[in-house]
C-alpha cells in the first residue's frame, strides 16, 4: 500500500510538469491555432533563468592567497562574491540559498518578453500557414534556442539546489497511519505540486473571472465572430501567448531542484505534453490538466517492478498506449467537445 501511495505522489509530481506545459500548449493551440513545438524550449528557458540567477549571485572577484596553491602549484586565487562584498555573508548566503524561488521574479518578465517576441517576431507570420509549416518553424526555433543555451551553459546537467529548509523528506506515512518512514516524500516535490496547483488555479481564474479571459475564451470558441465585434483579438492572443510562455517558464524554474536542468530537457517533456493535450482533448484546458495528472500517475505505476516483471518495457510505452486507447474509445479525448478544433 505504501508503495502505491508513493507512486501516486510521484505521478502527481510528474503530472504537475506535464499539466503546466500542456496547459500552455492548449492555450496557444486553442487561441492561435498554432502547434508550438518550441514550447518545451520555453520550459528550458525558465529552468535556465534559475541557473542564471544562481550564477549572477555567484559573480565574484579574485584575490590571491599566497598561503595556498592551486592545482598547478601557483598561488591560489580566492573568490569572493560581490553579493557577499556588498551585503555581508549572512544576506548573501540567504539569497544564494533561495535563488530558485527568487528566480520566479526574474522569470516572469523574461518569459513574458520572450513570449511577445516569439509571437510577434515569428509565430504570427504562420497563423494562416498549414500546421506542417508551423511545426517545422517552431521545431527549428526550439533547436536554435536549445543550442544557444548549450553554447552558454554546456551539455552537462547543472545542479541547482532548493532552499535548505526544503531539503529532506516529509514523513507522510505517520500522517496516514503507517509506520515511521514508510512513506517519505521529498519536501521540494510537495512544494512543486502545490506550486503547480496554484499556477493552474490562477490561469483558470484569470480566464474565468476577468474580461480579458472571457474574450480569450470567446476567441477560442469562435475567433471570427469576436473579431467582427470589433475586439482586437490579435493583441489579446499575443498576451495569451506570453502568458502560456510564462507558465511553461515558471514550471521550468521550479523543476530545477527536482532534475538538474540540461539544454535538451524540454524535448522529452514536450513530446509527452503533446500526448497529454491529445488525450485531454484538443483545446480543452481542464482536459489538459486532467490528462497531465492522469498520465503522470499511470507512467509512475508502469515503472513499478511488479508491473515491469509482468510486462517488461511497459514503462517506456505506457503513455503512448494510453493515448491510443483513449483516442480509440473517445476520439475527441477525455474532455474534448464536438465542433471544437475540428474544422
Amino acid at each position: 500500500m505504501d508503495a502505491i501511495i508513493l507512486q501516486i505522489l510521484n505521478g502527481l509530481d510528474k503530472g504537475s510538469a506535464y499539466a503546466l506545459i500542456a496547459l500552455g500548449l492548449t492555450l496557444i493551440f486553442g487561441t492561435l491555432g498554432v502547434v508550438n513545438f518550441a514550447h518545451g524550449a520555453l520550459f528550458v528557458i525558465g529552468a535556465f533563468c534559475a541557473v542564471t540567477l544562481n550564477r549572477i549571485f555567484s559573480i565574484s572577484f579574485e584575490t590571491t592567497d599566497p598561503t595556498k596553491v592551486d592545482f598547478l602549484g601557483n598561488p591560489a586565487t580566492i573568490k569572493t562574491t560581490y553579493l557577499e562584498h556588498w551585503f555581508g555573508a549572512g544576506p548573501a548566503a540567504w539569497m544564494t540559498d533561495w535563488s530558485v524561488p527568487l528566480a520566479i521574479l526574474m522569470a516572469i518578465p523574461v518569459m513574458l518578453l520572450v513570449g511577445v517576441i516569439m509571437e510577434r517576431g515569428l509565430i504570427k507570420h504562420f497563423y494562416k500557414r498549414p500546421h506542417a509549416d508551423q511545426i517545422l518553424v517552431t521545431f527549428g526555433l526550439a533547436i536554435v534556442l536549445q543550442e544557444i543555451i548549450k553554447f552558454f551553459y554546456g551539455a552537462n546537467p547543472i545542479q541547482t539546489a532548493p532552499p535548505d529548509v526544503f531539503i529532506g523528506t516529509m514523513d507522510l506515512g505517520v500522517w496516514l497511519g503507517f509506520e515511521a518512514n514508510a512513506i517519505a516524500y521529498p519536501y521540494w516535490r510537495m512544494v512543486y505540486f502545490l506550486f503547480s496547483t496554484v499556477i493552474i488555479g490562477g490561469v483558470f481564474a484569470f480566464l474565468q473571472f476577468t474580461t480579458f479571459g472571457m474574450v480569450v475564451r470567446a476567441g477560442m470558441a469562435d475567433r471570427e465572430t469576436v473579431g467582427l465585434l470589433g475586439i482586437d483579438i490579435d493583441k489579446r492572443f499575443t498576451i495569451t501567448f506570453a502568458i502560456a510562455a510564462t507558465v511553461a517558464g515558471l514550471a521550468g524554474v521550479m523543476y530545477t531542484p527536482i532534475t538538474p536542468p540540461t539544454y535538451d530537457i524540454g524535448v522529452e517533456l514536450l513530446v509527452l505534453s503533446f500526448v497529454v493535450v491529445v488525450v485531454g482533448g484538443m483545446g480543452s484546458l481542464p482536459g489538459a490538466v486532467l490528462a497531465g495528472f492522469l498520465l503522470g500517475i499511470v507512467e509512475s505505476f508502469a515503472s513499478m517492478n511488479e508491473v515491469k516483471n509482468i510486462l517488461p518495457g511497459i514503462d517506456q510505452i505506457i503513455v503512448y498506449l494510453m493515448a491510443i486507447i483513449v483516442i480509440l474509445v473517445r476520439p475527441r479525448g477525455l474532455m474534448g467537445r464536438k465542433g471544437v478544433m475540428e474544422d
Binding site: 548549450k150 521529498p186 509512475s300 513499478m304
Partner: protein, 448 residues
C-alpha cells in the same frame, strides 16, 4: 534527321574522355597502391578525432578534443611536450609520426551510433584519416570499431567502459586504453567489503544499454562473491531524466545499498533523486543506507554537486595523481586550458601517443604493422604506472583507482579523493573469462 559525322576531333575528344573515365577509379584509390587504406603519401599524416560535440556527452567530447589537440601539438614538437618526456618508449621526438607532420580532422558522434559511424566513414573516405579515435559511449565505440575493422584503419577507443568493447565485440583493428566494468568491480569490491561489511543487500538501477548491462553483471558478481545479496536489478531507459519512480521502490525493498550503474547525465539525475528521497539518511537492517557509483568522472561529480560526498566509485585516472607522467600532463593541459584534465582527456591523449609510438616502432602506418607493435606492448610514464596492452583482446591492463566523493573540497576541481590504487594483478582476468566470451579478434584488416 541529323547526320553523324566522325571527325578526327571527335575521336580525340571521345578517346580523352574514355581515358579519363577509366583512370578515375585508379586516381581515387591511389592510396591502395601502398597496400593499406589511406597510406600517407605527402609530408603529413591525418588522424580522425571522432567525439561527441553535441548531445548528452558534449562536455566530455569537448575535453577529449582539447586533449587530442594537445597531443598533436606535442607530437609536432610544439608546447612543452607533455608526457612525451615521461613516456617509457622514446621514439617520439616531436617530429610528428615517422617524420610526417600530424594533422587532424574532427567528427561529431552526437553520442549516436549511426551518426558516429557516418562521421568516421566520412573522415576515412573523404579526409583520408589513417586512424580513428574517440567516443564517449560504449555503444558508439563498438559501432565505430566495427566500421574501422571493415575499412582497414586502426581504431583507438576513447572513453568506453563496457566489457563488450574488448569482449564479445572486440576487433583486431581496435584497441582500448580505458578500463572496463569488470575491472571497476574487481577494484571496488574489496574496498566496499572493508567499509560496509559482507552482509549487505544491494539494489541495482542500470542504464539499459551495453555498458549498463556489463557494469551491472560485473559489480553484482563481485559483490555477491563477497557475500552481498542482490535484491533487485532494475533497468532504466537511457533517456530517463526523472528517476523518482525507480527510486521509490528502493525505499521499502529491504535493500541497504543502492548501486547506480548510470553514467553522465543519467548518474547525475538518479543520484540527485536518490538523495532527494532521503536514501542517504535512512537506516535499514540496522545499517546506514549507502549509495555506490561504480564509474565516476570529475565532470559527472561536478554535475552532481554535493550529492557525491562520501560515495565510492572507480576511475581510470585522476588529475591529483603525483607520478611524473600525470604531473606533466596536468601541467601541460592546465596551463593551456586553465583547468585540470578529465579522465576522458587523459585516455585519449594516451591513445594518441600510443598510436604514434606504435607507428614509429613498426616503421609504418599499415594497421597490421601498428597492431603488431601495440599487441603485448608494455609501457610506463603515462599516468597509470606499468601498463600492458594485452595481445589477446587489445585491452590495456593497469592499476585502477578507487575514489570517493570528497567531503570537504578545497576547489571546484577537488571533487574526488583517491582512497586506493588497486594493483593491476587484482583486476586482471583471463582472456576467455565468461563475461568477455563470445567474441573473436579476427584478423587484422589493412583495407585497400
Amino acid at each position: 534527321m541529323s547526320k553523324s559525322i566522325l571527325t578526327r576531333r571527335n575521336v580525340l575528344q571521345t578517346g580523352a574522355a574514355a581515358g579519363a573515365g577509366l583512370a578515375l577509379p585508379t586516381i581515387l584509390t591511389a592510396g591502395s597502391h601502398s597496400g593499406y587504406t589511406n597510406a600517407p603519401t605527402g609530408s603529413t599524416v591525418t588522424l580522425g578525432f571522432n567525439v561527441p560535440q553535441t548531445g548528452a556527452y558534449a562536455d566530455e567530447g569537448a575535453d577529449e578534443l582539447r586533449a587530442y589537440m594537445l597531443a598533436v601539438e606535442h607530437l609536432n614538437g610544439e608546447g612543452d611536450g607533455g608526457m612525451l618526456s615521461t613516456f617509457s618508449s622514446k621514439t617520439l621526438e616531436g617530429n610528428g609520426i615517422l617524420g610526417k607532420k600530424v594533422e587532424y580532422v574532427t567528427g561529431d558522434t552526437q553520442t549516436k551510433s549511426d551518426a558516429a559511424r557516418a562521421s568516421a566513414k566520412s573522415m576515412i573516405e573523404k579526409d583520408g584519416a589513417v586512424m580513428i579515435t574517440g567516443g564517449s559511449s560504449s555503444g558508439v565505440a563498438i559501432a565505430v570499431q566495427g566500421l574501422c575493422q571493415e575499412a582497414g584503419v586502426i581504431f583507438m577507443a576513447g572513453l568506453t567502459h563496457s566489457n563488450d568493447t574488448t569482449g564479445k565485440d572486440k576487433k583486431a583493428n581496435g584497441f582500448r586504453h580505458f578500463f572496463n566494468g569488470y575491472m571497476s568491480a574487481a577494484a571496488l569490491a574489496p574496498v566496499l567489503q572493508a567499509r560496509y561489511g559482507s552482509d549487505r543487500n544491494a539494489y541495482h538501477l542500470t542504464a539499459d544499454y551495453t555498458w549498463g548491462w556489463t557494469q551491472e553483471e560485473s559489480i553484482a558478481a563481485a559483490t555477491e562473491a563477497m557475500g552481498w545479496n542482490t535484491v533487485n536489478k532494475v533497468r532504466t531507459p537511457l533517456k530517463a531524466t526523472d528517476f523518482s519512480s525507480y527510486i521509490a521502490p528502493v525505499l521499502n525493498s529491504g535493500a541497504d545499498i543502492l548501486v547506480l550503474n548510470h553514467y553522465g547525465g543519467n548518474m547525475v539525475n538518479s543520484l540527485t533523486n536518490a538523495v532527494q528521497f532521503g536514501l542517504r539518511d535512512k537506516v535499514v537492517n540496522n545499517k546506514n543506507f549507502e549509495i555506490i557509483v561504480p564509474l565516476y568522472s570529475r565532470l559527472m561529480a561536478k554535475g552532481a554537486g554535493a550529492n557525491v560526498k562520501g560515495i565510492f566509485g572507480s576511475t581510470n585516472w585522476h588529475w591529483s595523481l603525483q607520478d611524473e607522467g600525470s604531473k606533466a600532463f596536468v601541467k601541460s593541459f592546465g596551463t593551456k586550458y586553465g583547468f585540470p584534465p578529465s579522465q576522458a582527456a587523459h585516455t585519449v591523449y594516451c591513445q594518441t601517443l600510443l598510436y604514434a609510438d606504435a607507428c614509429n616502432r613498426a616503421g609504418t602506418f599499415n594497421p597490421c604493422g601498428v597492431g603488431e607493435a601495440l599487441e603485448g606492448f608494455e609501457f610506463d610514464g603515462l599516468g597509470n604506472g606499468k601498463t600492458l596492452y594485452r595481445a589477446d583482446d587489445h585491452q590495456c591492463f593497469k592499476d585502477v583507482l578507487v575514489v570517493k566523493g570528497k567531503e570537504n573540497p578545497t576547489s571546484e576541481f577537488d571533487l574526488l579523493e583517491i582512497v586506493e590504487v588497486t594493483p593491476m594483478e587484482q583486476v586482471k582476468y583471463a582472456p576467455d573469462h565468461p563475461m568477455f566470451a563470445g567474441g573473436d579478434l579476427g584478423a587484422c584488416n589493412p583495407g585497400a
